[in-house]
């Protein structure tokens, strides 16, 4: 057996190297294959009429004029669509008590959020479909709406699903140690804050898009979509459209970003598939930007009442909070909208030793668009609660924020261990990461500089976040609760006659570079130049069965499957080579496309070997059965998740006259275990940090009190833009996970999870000498001015 360590030092190992992405040139040349590029004969184009009200009874709906409009192929009301689709309910059994109501792709009788589909038009072009949608006459009886999560449980608030009696979807409490006693101690300082986290969304460059084809002769649905989990969608279409699972093919080629918003079941997509099946012709739906803002899942929406008690030397004595989160009128299917709150309970305080911990989450229904998993699910909330209170406490007792972290962070040599909430932790490096961060940012110099500038009326602040990220989830995340979501992934390598590799994986590419790292692993571990590897992902018909991309699992799980498959194929090839070359397999190796002897001298090319096997099998002994293809699957066992850690810092300047915040610099030290492609990891961190800064300072889905979404354009919804972004300095500590040979953990969500807390802490560091602080994200100029009492 090969010594695993050798895998990373081999002459042609690509693991750990920055290798250009194989798809970069194709995409730059405009040769991407996105869903909207697909043009099929007889294809119809869908547009949806959406509810203009947050809550309304559909008294009547007249589609006659729309049906009669030239170019219209079909119109479906909710009731008509319901005849073809089995409704779905977003609950999972491991989230005990979670409830949600059956959901239809198009509203039947009652619309429960502004933007919910009310009718679908399919026409010869999208423009015609929109023309016809305007001709549909709907009589609504507006119902009182429950929009504000904070009053959703009040007795006078309308109940969205009357059978439930109230708007509570789910509730959970974690209670560890004796929190009340700890807060009551007379040697502790207690800080207490109400934090608010607005709604934002994952603004993908390519919107949600789908092309559904149905072939009645085979009873077969082919669904091209811009998404992250093809096999999950295969199950969903099969179940809800009444098709055998093997007759559903889901294809996700190039995907222009997803950030978690493209991993859910949207009525639009289900209706598109159902319409194709009913009409027996292809149907395309591409969400426009306004629809994206209205109907792509929103994220966050929390109000947290948090408290922390610290001893005089800065030790955390207790941490307690109540989290209230609004999820819209349904729990999203199939992942549910309770996972975010569950993560907040699981992750808050996880970097630290927290002897007494109590946390309650209440998840409530409201008449707004649905809230669900988006990049760094729950993390920014969890990190902001603990690290926000920790820096608040540090200020209260006059302690440096780095010192208070060093006092409380879990010891690097203390793993495996468990967090207060019971999360199993291993292979983390909080102290090393913090040391590296302090060095990277030249902390003491920066502090001194800030103090000097303060004297000149320049208000700068430094804020930190020590964080954990959930990556590489095991079946304990979803599968255990009955979700049709694979936690294992597979990889196949096939050596072709030309000596190149065709590899396939069940993880998917959203633009983050998964295909590149899969090629690196396959090439390096098997032993061919990377140019000789072609990667296929995102097609249920041709790739192994697996979960796709979410929870930062592509590299850690998909990568390990690829590594194991490459080792298996190598061993199979060497068995054949040994026969041909009259040698022992152990004395042979594969390097740079050739079978070599142990010291690297080429003995025969892989092409020669493959051609012998494929074309001239007569030259081989008849009892030799060469297999030049290998498949392996991998799942995480023994741990529910593989946690990563990071230490981040933000340097900001607050203009107290305008309330504007400028992020001057950002540093992130991340431990994602083995780094497979440094450039891709760094860019994941940077992109994540930018999204985190977006959540902290800019992005918010603004609703009127009546539940009308007020910003549905890129002019009104502020995404972070390059001009305002700081330099983001990234460094790594590499502590490989013990759960795999590859040793890679995830890296995709860390920045988004940690940056908001760091930015909030930095803003508060700048504001504190001015006698105030802010606990609401995004921290807009108006909110900062109000905190300062300027308006």
């Amino acid at each position: 057996m090969t010594n695993p360590l050798n895998l990373f030092d081999r002459p042609n190992s690509y693991i750990g190297k920055t290798v250009p992405r194989p798809d970069a040139r194709r995409l730059l040349e405009g040769r991407g294959r996105f869903v909207d590029d697909i043009q099929l004969p007889r294809m119809g184009h869908a547009a949806f009429l959406r509810s203009p009200h947050a809550h309304a009874r559909i008294v009547s709906i007249d589609v006659a004029a729309a049906r009669a409009h030239p170019g219209v192929i079909a119109v479906f009301t909710g009731a008509e669509m319901a005849q073809h689709v089995e409704p779905y309910v977003g609950v999972l059994t491991h989230l005990a008590g979670l409830r949600s109501a059956p959901q239809h792709p198009i509203a039947v009788d009652i619309a429960r959020w502004q933007g919910e589909p009310v009718a679908m038009v399919i026409a010869d072009s999208r423009a015609t479909a929109e023309d016809a949608a305007e001709l549909i006459e709907v009589e609504y009886d507006e119902l009182p709406a429950a929009c504000d999560a904070e009053t959703a449980l009040d007795p006078g608030t309308p109940v969205i699903h009357p059978a439930f009696g109230n708007n509570l979807a789910w509730e959970r409490t974690v209670d560890v140690g004796d929190v009340d006693a700890a807060f009551a101690r007379d040697d502790v300082t207690v800080v207490e804050r109400t934090m608010r986290f607005g709604r934002h969304t994952g603004v993908t460059l390519e919107p949600r898009a789908a092309v559904a084809e149905f072939d009645p002769s085979e009873d077969r649905l082919t669904f091209h979509y811009s998404g992250q989990a093809p096999h999950m969608m295969q199950f969903i279409f099969a179940k809800h459209l009444g098709l055998p699972e093997e007759n559903v093919r889901v294809v996700a080629e190039d995907v222009g970003g997803s950030f978690g918003i493209k991993i859910h079941t949207y009525g639009d997509e289900v209706a598109t598939a159902a319409a194709a099946k009913v009409l027996r012709r292809p149907v395309k739906f591409v969400a426009d930007r306004a629809e994206s803002f209205m109907t792509d899942i929103h994220a966050r929406d929390h109000v947290v009442e948090g408290r922390m008690a610290v001893t005089a030397d800065g030790g955390i004595a207790a941490l307690a909070f109540d989290d209230l989160t609004g999820i819209g009128p349904f729990s999203m299917y199939p992942r549910t909208s309770a996972i975010e709150a569950n993560q907040v309970l699981n992750l808050t305080g996880a970097p630290y030793v927290v002897p007494n911990y109590r946390a309650t989450a209440r998840v409530v229904f409201q008449n707004k668009n649905m809230m669900c998993q988006y990049r760094a699910v729950g993390h920014p909330i969890a990190m902001a609660i603990c690290d926000g209170l920790l820096e608040d406490a540090a200020a209260a007792i006059g302690m440096d924020p780095v010192a208070i972290r060093r006092r409380n962070l879990m010891r690097d040599d203390g793993y495996p261990c468990a967090s207060a909430s019971g999360m199993k932790l291993a292979d983390l490096s909080h102290h090393k990461a913090m040391d590296r961060l302090v060095e990277l940012m030249d902390y003491d110099r920066l502090r001194a500089e800030n103090a000097a500038l303060r004297a000149q009326g320049i208000h700068r602040g430094i804020g930190f976040c020590s964080m954990v990220e959930v990556t590489n989830p095991s079946p304990m995340f979803y599968g255990v609760g009955g979700a049709p979501i694979a936690s294992q992934d597979g990889a196949t390598l096939r050596l072709d006659a030309g000596g190149g590799l065709q590899v396939a994986s069940s993880v998917t590419e959203q633009g983050q570079g998964t295909n590149a790292i899969l090629a690196q692993i396959a090439a390096g571990v098997f032993g061919v130049p990377i140019e000789r590897v072609r990667v296929k992902t995102g097609d249920t018909e041709t790739v192994p069965y697996g979960g796709g991309t979410w929870a930062s699992r592509g590299a850690g799980i998909g990568g390990e499957a690829m590594l194991q498959a490459a080792l298996a194929l190598k061993s199979q090839v060497l068995d054949v080579a040994a026969v041909i070359l009259q040698a022992r397999p152990d004395d042979l190796d594969i390097r740079d496309g050739s079978v070599t002897d142990a010291n690297g001298t080429p003995r025969m090319t892989l092409s020669d070997l493959a051609r012998t096997v494929y074309y001239r099998g007569n030259e081989l002994p008849s009892d030799l059965t060469p297999e030049l293809i290998a498949t392996r699957h991998y799942r995480v066992t023994d741990f529910p998740f593989v946690f990563t850690n990071g230490a981040m810092a933000a340097h900001v300047e607050v203009d107290p006259d305008t309330g504007f915040v400028r992020v001057l610099d950002f540093w992130a030290v991340e431990d994602c275990g083995r780094v497979i492609n440094p450039q891709l990891v760094d860019e994941q961190i940077r992109g994540g940090v930018v999204q985190g800064i977006g959540g902290a300072l800019y992005e918010e889905c603004l609703y009127s009190p009546e539940g009308q979404l007020l910003n549905t354009t890129m002019a009104d919804y502020l995404v972070p833009m390059a001009g305002e972004m700081p330099d983001i300095h990234v460094a790594h500590v590499e502590t490989p996970t013990r759960t795999s040979v590859l040793g890679a953990k995830g890296a995709g969500e860390a920045g988004t999870g940690g940056a908001p807390a760091a930015v909030m802490n930095a803003v508060n560091d700048a504001l504190r000498p001015l006698g105030t602080s802010i606990w609401q994200m995004p921290m807009t100029p108006e909110r900062i001015l109000k905190a300062l009492g300027r308006v």
Binding site: A127, D131, L702, A715, P720, G723, E724, T780, P781, V791
Partner: protein
């Protein structure tokens, strides 16, 4: 977000354009940077789109008698590249880079900005501070409208239906005239939360705010205070200004930010 069907004409002369604009539901299109999004949102649904991009009569920048006459179809990018504008109209030069992003400035036109009269747009406020003029022409011939009379409400102007903006006229900077400009936008290129233009000649000071009301507005109280150099009194005088909030800032915040912008623009004008 697809525009409803429409007819499209690209006239070659002003008279031809005016004839087409006499038709029902005819709308001119210049740079299209505002009109096309409005059409895609179906907030505008013209039956006939009259493209002004073929009209040589609406192009060009000429100086005469202390005034610069700028053809309505002149792009922001062309203004930025014009020495006459950069040197002769420093306030405009100062404001131009704050309009959106280079791609939009390459298409968007000065005439389009005045015709649209977005209350947060920079150019109408620049014109107001400078005491410029808008030249329009309809079937009844050309007329000139003073900047003070131009914007009449939210996206409303003194332009009559069927009239085109043909040119914008601005006085060239006089010796000793001083200018200040400041806008507070959250991201580079965004419409401001509040912004102000100042043009000061001796003790005659014109102050035009944008992004705080339904149209660009002068601030007479502040102008009077600044004529005596009293910036604190000028800011205090903003208490009387009618101010509308928007999505990102309520009226109180806007009033506060208008005061901050005024201080900063005044500091620039007097530095």
């Amino acid at each position: 977000m697809k525009a409803p069907d429409f007819r499209y004409e690209r006239p070659a002369s002003l008279s031809e354009a005016l004839a087409l604009l006499a038709e029902e539901d005819a709308t001119p299109i210049a740079g299209g940077q505002s009109l096309m999004p409005m059409m895609n949102f179906r907030m505008a649904a013209p039956a006939l789109l009259v493209d002004l991009n073929g009209l040589a009569d609406l192009a060009g920048i000429t100086a005469a008698d202390g005034w610069l006459t700028i053809g309505a179809m002149t792009r922001y990018a062309a203004l930025e590249g014009s020495a006459q504008v950069m040197e002769g109209v420093p306030l405009m030069a100062r404001a131009l880079p704050h309009i959106a992003h280079p791609a939009i400035r390459t298409r968007g036109t000065l005439g389009g900005s005045l015709a649209l009269a977005d209350p947060a747009a920079e150019m109408p406020a620049v014109l107001l501070a400078l005491g410029g003029e808008v030249v329009v022409e309809g079937p009844g011939g050309p007329r000139t409208i003073a900047a003070d009379d131009w914007a009449t409400g939210l996206y409303e102007t003194a332009r009559a239906p069927g009239e085109l903006v043909t040119a914008i006229r601005v006085p060239l900077a006089a010796p000793g005239q001083r200018f200040g400009f400041h806008e507070l936008a959250r991201r580079h290129g965004d419409y401001a939360l509040a912004g102000v233009c100042i043009a000061a000649t001796g003790d005659a000071v014109r102050v035009a705010f944008f992004a705080i009301s339904d149209r660009p507005v002068r601030a007479p109280g502040a102008e009077a205070a600044l004529a005596t150099g009293d910036i604190d009194a000028a800011v205090a005088a903003l208490a009387d200004l009618p101010i509308d909030g928007d999505l990102h800032a309520g009226p109180d915040t806007k009033r506060h930010l208008a005061g901050v912008a005024l201080r900063r623009a005044w500091a620039e004008a007097t530095s």
